[in-house]
């Protein structure tokens, strides 16, 4: 490991030198080239494993617009006051310095599948032998009438972590006594199935301390949601009378918002709200659409190696892909990335390709020391990534078990972020 890392320094220096040369990068050598778009749980992990395991045999470029990445997982815990915003922020310095990855802070804006190049907003064109897209999510235009991206300052989605999360928390803290926080929950499928409900728990935890007569209103187009029994049990126990959820039977799917007037209209009935968290329907990050590999809102992939069903030289990881049974989560993206990296390395260098295997576990925090989890294992079939086995926390678990589950989630956070960023 250490020796490998030292060996990378030379590669990194060569990468930097190429950067200062005009336009087409990386053409000077014969190494296979992988370009990874998106530096989250899928992309950062894939880039790191490709660089680490190929011992410098593969030239890896990671394109990620932000210099400082905030994880969506644990961002709800920031809202609840359990984490600082800094503690969920990560930079790409180690991926560049220790793994020799060419980290380019830029937006990928085009993919030429015939020429096998990616173009960026900064004006670069990067050739690839394999392209890995892990762009996360974007929102479906017009999904919530009255809301568009220009209203995200009035009604934040906070579903890409960072400034949006800080804004939402500030708006909740500024609510008048006894005011109302509303959430417009998204339809399936969406990033982090328990996420909206963990968020409600964390908002309730915050309000219970600073504004205990405040109300939480959820408009939800879904009949059921992830860990529902666990969340509802927890809400009754910790936040009795504070949370009201309007499901589809009562018009929860028929919602309109007015960001100027700060109103939410559910099935024709208007409510004035003081903070409003609109989480619209989602689709694959835009570059997947630009690359022409989406079908509907997502990019269909083969289960064995996460390769696009429309282009064998492109792989799609995480939230953006349609793969089968795995939930759209950071853990899933991280799991898929390692299978993909193994397959891509095998294709480019002839290394052994081991059979795909996938897993996911999602922890959620309901209140102080009240953690729950759900998890499953998956396998690759011809048709899709298929569930093998799974578990979910039980209702009525002891306080000790719940506290241990929360402690475990903290350990997992350190583990997965080390696995992503080195």
């Amino acid at each position: 490991m250490k020796l490998n890392r030292r060996a990378f320094i030379g590669t990194a220096a060569a990468g930097a030198a190429t950067l200062s040369a005009p336009m087409v990068m990386g053409a000077a050598h014969g190494k296979p080239r992988v370009v990874v778009v998106g530096g989250g749980a899928g992309g950062a992990t894939a880039a790191r494993y490709l660089a680490k395991d190929s011992n410098g045999e593969i030239d890896v470029t990671l394109i990620e617009p932000t210099r400082h990445y905030y994880t969506c997982f644990f961002s709800n815990l920031y809202i609840g006051g359990f984490r600082s915003i800094d503690s969920i922020g990560h930079s790409y310095g180690t991926l560049a310095s220790e793994y020799g990855i060419n980290v380019l802070h830029d937006w990928a804006t085009g993919v030429d599948r015939d020429a096998k190049t990616v173009s960026t907003a900064g004006g670069y064109t990067l050739p690839y032998d394999r392209l890995i897209l892990s762009p996360g999510i974007d929102f479906v235009d017009g999904a919530v009438p009255g809301w568009d991206i220009s209203a995200q300052d009035r009604m934040p989605h906070a579903y890409k972590a960072g400034s949006q999360t800080e804004l939402l928390k500030a708006q909740i803290e500024a609510m008048p006594e006894g005011g109302t926080y509303a959430m417009v929950a998204p339809p399936n499928p969406f990033r982090c199935p328990p996420g909206p409900y963990e968020r409600v728990s964390m908002v309730a935890h915050l309000l219970k301390q600073i504004n205990p007569t405040a109300k939480i209103l959820i408009a939800d187009p879904k009949q059921n949601f992830s860990k529902q029994a666990l969340f509802e049990e927890g809400w009754n126990r910790h936040y009795s009378g504070m949370i009201e959820r309007i499901g589809p039977d009562f018009g929860g799917g028929n919602v309109e918002v007015d960001p100027e007037a700060m109103t939410v209209t559910i099935d024709g009935s208007v409510t004035n709200v003081d903070a409003c968290n609109v989480i619209p329907a989602m689709k694959a990050g835009r570059i997947a659409d630009i690359a022409g590999i989406t079908e509907g809102n997502w990019a269909p992939v083969n289960a064995a190696d996460l390769s696009s069903k429309m282009d064998e030289n492109i792989h799609v990881l995480g939230d953006a892909c349609a793969q089968g049974d795995m939930p759209k989560s950071g853990f899933s993206a991280n799991s898929q990335a390692k299978v993909c990296a193994n397959a891509v390395r095998g294709a480019l260098t002839g290394s052994t390709v081991f059979p795909a295997r996938f897993a996911n576990t999602c922890w959620s925090l309901i209140d102080t020391d009240d953690g729950v989890k759900v998890g499953a294992t998956y396998e690759a079939t011809e048709e899709k990534i298929a569930k093998v086995d799974g578990f979910v926390s039980d209702t009525g678990e002891s306080a000790e078990v719940r506290a241990a589950t929360y402690q475990e989630s903290i350990g997992w956070y350190d583990g997965i972020t080390a696995d992503m960023f080195g």
Binding site: S87, R357, F391, D419
Partner: protein, 234 residues
Amino acid sequence: MVRRALFPAILIAGLGGPVAAQVGGDPERGEVLFRSDCASCHQVGQGARNRVGPHLNGIFDRQAGQIEDFRYSEDMMLRANAGLKWDFESLDRYIENPRVFVSRTRMNYAGMESAEDRSDLLAYLRLFSADPANIPEAAPTAAAVDHEVAPEILAIVGDPAYGEYLSTECTSCHQESGAANGIPSITNWPADVFVTAMHAYKEGVREHNVMEMMASRLSNEEIAALAAYFENIE
């Protein structure tokens, strides 16, 4: 990142006000505590060997990080190179909260809160330190075995290259560096301990919903491969 996450732990420890253990505890009670809290990883007594943790014979007045053939964490070696010596006071502080004393130690132990317990435990360990000749004739404390694995399973020689690939499923939670905070370290365990633990989960003898699920679909060869990889990971 990891360092920041540790701040709350330090604060909590500070707020409680450290209570040092007193010399002169009850070694018999200490033995009971050793068996329940320590013996799954450490041996002490005649013939004690390194297991998941180093053997503890002669630990009093020994420089830290000195047992041959044991791979310590980087942080433990930093402390050792800075001159850490194990004596009553330093052992007391380490056992009270290992990760506060040595921040990324591989020791998977949350800490022994009670000063009286620590006093008793150290009184017991002290019995094996005065002088090698004084070590009682008793057999070494065996690892606390909650599961017996068939010898033919333990004899399987794992393929570390396959183990490295399989390990990527572990490193979504368990850190490759051996650092541990809420999820145990699994690096540099003796292969037989690793295999025994995984089979205990696979057969549901040891309970943990994630680990039972992960272990249940690993074959005997795959468990051996993981054990071979993690045993020698650097």
